[in-house]
């Protein structure tokens, strides 16, 4: 279901099938809807076999990077004598993204089952679900569902009577965007300041509490039980574009659009159809202008480009942007791109963890330049400075927050330079109806 709207017939509701159905939240209700079928079998299966099933399915990380999930799990050396940890990244803070929130709100047990299977598959007995602090309702729902699952013996020291230990705990974030970065997330769980760590060592070698750790996104983990129930071929077959992108994907749609919300489609779906049919097109009297397709960190593209895109990892890459987290932000012709991008840059300047020089100083500087341009006091030189600054901020820091600030801004200037120049020369762009 494309909650809060009725499911569109062209959607493929797998994760979102029970969105809006309050009974699916309870353990009993979830079992009646086919839940916890995969877990007992999985707990009796060799972890490496589960890793291989997930590898074959072609499932890739839904948090943004798109790293193959099964491969990530296979980095965990089973039986190395160390405690392993699973972290579920539910710190969904990427502007424009709200899919994990809905998974936790409506189908908490789907995530619990996914976590339990993944924990077993990587040899972990403990899983932390790190939930964004602002998600008060999802936190309450997750806590309740975990309580229920523990009481019913679904998870715990003897999960589903298998003799295996699977303990899952909720860890509430405190409102920092950067804690969604996997190493910052681990620091945060450890009680430290949420600063990203230098890699290597990678989490699979030394992660949470210095032990081998895997971090997966909520949507990734929620998809795992379905893969086990239906087989990897079923999942792999869900593909309309590049053979490297499989399965269904939730897209969160927001901005200047008739029907914002979450939509679940098969990888490779036509973005044009998605925008105009599923999402209902632009608001009356408006036209789409620009789209940030994968959460605010990815480059912005024009609607002309977007209409040609196939919605998968490779499809977005073809047009110089990324699938990212699937947070589709739509701007129509009433929006001023300089203003929108200045707002985005301000977000990154606010959220920089302040470790790396380029990010701490660069994001703030970029914001100041953009805000000055918006105030009509920019110069052409400023645009060059932004590009050089972005070059300086890209690929040189511990994490990619710094890169994420420059990417949408520079792509925006490249594609909508006229609007910036109009502000600089004092002539408002004719394409902007409302400043």
């Amino acid at each position: 279901m494309g909650y809060p709207h009725k499911s569109h017939p062209r959607e493929t509701p797998i994760l979102s099938k029970y969105f809006g159905d309050p009974e699916a939240r309870t353990l009993e209700g979830w079992k009646a809807r086919g839940g916890y079928k995969a877990l007992p079998d999985a707990l009796a299966t060799d972890p490496v076999a589960i890793q291989n099933v997930v590898k074959e399915s072609g499932l890739r990380g839904r948090g943004g990077a798109g790293f193959p999930t099964g491969l990530k799990w296979s980095f965990m050396k089973i039986g190395d004598g160390k405690p392993h940890y699973l972290c579920c990244n539910a710190d969904e803070s990427e502007p424009g993204t709200f899919k994990d929130r809905e998974i936790m709100r409506w189908t908490p047990h789907a995530l619990i089952e996914g976590c339990a299977i993944a924990a077993h598959a990587i040899g972990a007995e403990t899983c932390y679900i790190y939930i964004r602090g602002e998600f008060t309702e999802p936190i309450a729902i997750m806590e309740r569902a975990l309580e229920e699952a523990r009481a019913a013996g679904v998870i715990g020291d003897n999960a589903m009577g298998s003799g295996k230990k699977v303990n899952i705990w909720v860890h509430r974030g405190a409102g920092a965007y950067i804690c969604g970065e996997e190493t910052a997330l681990m620091n945060s769980i450890e009680g430290k300041r949420g600063n990203p760590r230098i890699k290597p060592p990678f989490p699979a070698v030394a992660g949470l509490f210095g032990m081998p750790t895997t971090i997966n996104n909520v949507e990734t983990l929620a998809a795992v039980p379905h893969i086990l129930n239906n087989g990897p071929e079923w999942y792999k077959a869900m593909c309309l574009g590049s053979p490297k992108s499989n399965g269904s994907k939730l897209f969160s749609v927001c901005g200047n659009v008739a029907k914002p919300g979450n939509y679940e489609v098969v990888m490779g779906f036509s973005f044009k159809e998605f925008l105009y049919d599923l999402c209902g097109g632009p608001l009356p009297g408006r036209k789409f202008k620009a789209i940030i397709p994968g959460g605010s960190s990815v480059p912005v593209i024009t609607i002309e480009e977007a209409e040609q895109v196939k919605m998968d990892y490779e499809g977005f890459m073809e047009f110089g942007t990324m699938l990212g987290s699937g947070g589709v932000i739509i701007f129509d012709d009433a929006q001023s791109m300089p203003k929108q991008l200045a707002r985005l840059a301000r977000f990154y300047a606010h959220e920089s963890c302040a470790q790396c020089t380029q990010c701490r100083e660069g994001t703030a500087w970029m914001t100041k330049i953009l805000e000055r341009i918006c105030a009509g006091q920019g110069t052409f030189e400023d645009l060059d400075t932004i590009f050089e600054l972005t070059e300086n901020m890209t690929g040189k820091t511990i994490c990619v927050l710094s890169d994420s600030c420059g990417a949408p801004v520079c792509s925006g200037i490249t594609r909508f330079r006229g609007e910036f120049e109009a502000l600089i020369t004092g002539k408002r762009s004719s394409t902007v109806a409302v400043g």
Binding site: I178, I198, A349, E351, T357, E361, R372, N392, K396
Partner: protein, 509 residues
């Protein structure tokens, strides 16, 4: 080290072999290349945050932070490629956009890494046209003032306090460009080793309140020395301006103090500069020439058994000559409370607040709470100020010979006073509590007619009919090494500026 695997790599075209696990930054030092850096410090955990030490490593797609990248076999590292230079130039520009550029009033100017690297690799201009960030300066307590606007957030101070001092007093507060170093509630930098953050700070953000606006870095003369304030024997640099000591800074020595110096040690220096000094020999209450004074003292010593009171702040050379000229004796040791720097093995402000108690004991002098007790007809007091001592014990003495920097209290009016230099005004060695013999050099001239203590004692020995006439502290040391087994085989050359462990001190030192 013998069984450590060596890794071969090329840095700036120079072949280097370093033990496995070494960082590129450290490996480059062996090739004579100092890669610019701020957050990295060899004594601290690696943070990798300033991003200043980016270098190009062949076959790596991105520039590598050399402080956090370990060497690999066959690696080719280029420090000065255009790509690496551009990246570092970019970092410098960003570090300076909000920096107040108040070098003319900043204590760090002249010894500031932000200045140095900007001159070396930075831009001549800035493209920053926005208002600069402003935060007020903050008193961190202890000797430390935090000038927020100059801070580059390298976090060396945070890591030192947390990891080395074991007192998590500092942290990074806030995020983004609002970030600054914060101090934890109910904490201040009164930790006995906290002032090291001033030395660690690569810029002028953490400055010493004691040194504030006292001198410009380029006006200072620097002399290698040893801290005289306790028996740890921390290596220091004495910094003088117009012949006055204005600052004491740690000098690195991995065997003694690594990179550190305690607050009490570094701040207790004003006595070196005191101007109420004894500047001329005194005989029978009247100023005398050295010839008159030494003749009088020599005459009194000839054939007499003298009671000797020494001091643990005298050099080994002076103590040995005292032993030669007169004999060994007693000395007292000032005591204080111990304060360890927990993150470094065997480093503490020691209870013995004197630099050479171990050396004195090795030469045969013995500790005594009241060293004057038991004085006979002839008494020699060397380096002891007699504060708090009961001087009635020497009331009956016929001759009292005093070697001193300032005139001790309540001495007989007929005492022969011989003015000597303090440790900063002469050359010599101290033996620390682990038996490490370390040299200190002369940092300022002795006042008036005062002479180096070894010279005075050498002439006193000659006047008393013993062997004297040494030409230098080095010659005294050589003679001492020839007779005292403890110092066997040592010379000023072999000691260098980091010292050597005395034979008698055993292997655990």
């Amino acid at each position: 080290m013998a069984d450590t695997k060596l890794i071969n790599l090329t840095i700036e075209g120079r072949a280097v072999s370093v033990p496995a696990g070494t960082t590129i930054l450290e490996a480059a030092k062996t090739a004579g290349v100092l890669i610019p850096h701020y957050c990295y410090h060899p004594g601290l955990e690696i943070a990798g945050v300033c991003r200043m030490c980016l270098v190009e490593v062949e076959k790596m797609p991105k520039l590598a932070p050399s402080c956090a990248t370990t060497v690999a076999e066959g690696q080719v590292v280029n420090v000065y490629t255009q790509k690496a230079l551009d990246a570092r130039k970019g970092v410098l520009e960003l570090l300076l956009i909000n920096h107040p550029l108040d070098c003319p009033i900043c204590d760090q100017a002249g010894e500031c890494e932000l200045q140095d690297y900007t001159f070396q690799e930075g831009r001549a201009d800035s493209r920053y046209h926005e208002p600069k960030r402003f935060n007020p300066a903050e008193d961190f307590g202890g000797d430390v003032l935090y000038v927020t606007n100059r801070c580059i957030l390298c976090t060396r101070c945070v890591r030192f306090m947390g990891d080395v001092a074991g007192d998590e007093a500092l942290c990074v507060e806030e995020r983004g460009d609002r970030a600054h170093i914060g101090i934890a509630p109910n904490h201040d930098l009164s930790h006995p080793w906290a002032a090291n953050v001033v030395d660690l700070c690569p810029v002028g953000a953490l400055v010493s309140k004691d040194f504030l606006n006292k001198a410009r870095a380029w006006e200072l003369d620097r002399t290698a020395s040893v801290c005289p304030n306790c028996s740890q024997g921390c290596n220091i640099t004495l910094e003088t301006r117009d012949e006055n000591v204005v600052r004491m800074k740690p000098r690195s020595n991995d065997a003694v103090n690594h990179f550190y110096l305690c607050d009490e040690g570094r701040l207790n220096y004003s006595w070196i500069n005191r101007d109420d000094r004894l500047e001329t020999p005194v005989v029978a209450g009247k100023p005398a020439t050295w010839e008159q004074a030494l003749a009088a003292a020599g005459a009194a010593l000839k054939g007499a058994t003298a009671h000797v009171v020494a001091n643990g702040s005298l050099s080994n050379e002076a103590l040995w000559l005292l032993k030669q000229a007169v004999g060994t004796g007693k000395f007292r040791v000032a005591k204080g409370s111990e304060a360890a720097l927990t993150g470094v093995k065997d480093l503490a402000l020691r209870a013995d607040r004197t630099p050479n108690a171990t050396g004195a004991e090795m030469l045969g002098f013995t500790r005594a709470e009241q060293p004057l007790v038991g004085a006979g007809k002839v008494v020699v007091i060397a380096g002891e100020m007699c504060d708090g001592l009961d001087t009635s014990a020497i009331a009956g003495a016929t001759t009292v010979i005093v070697l001193c920097t300032v005139i001790p209290k309540s001495l007989p009016a007929n005492a022969i006073l011989l003015p000597i230099a303090n440790f900063a005004e002469e050359e010599g060695t101290f033996t620390n509590l682990r038996g490490r013999v370390q040299r200190f050099l002369q940092a300022r001239p002795a006042p008036g007619h005062a002479r180096a203590s070894w010279m005075v004692l050498s002439e006193l020995a000659a006047a008393a009919g013993k062997k004297g006439g040494y030409a230098s502290a080095e010659a005294v040391f050589a003679a001492m090494a020839g007779t005292e087994a403890t110092f066997g085989g040592m010379s000023y050359d072999s000691l260098g500026l980091k010292g050597q462990v005395a034979v008698a001190a055993g292997v655990n030192a």
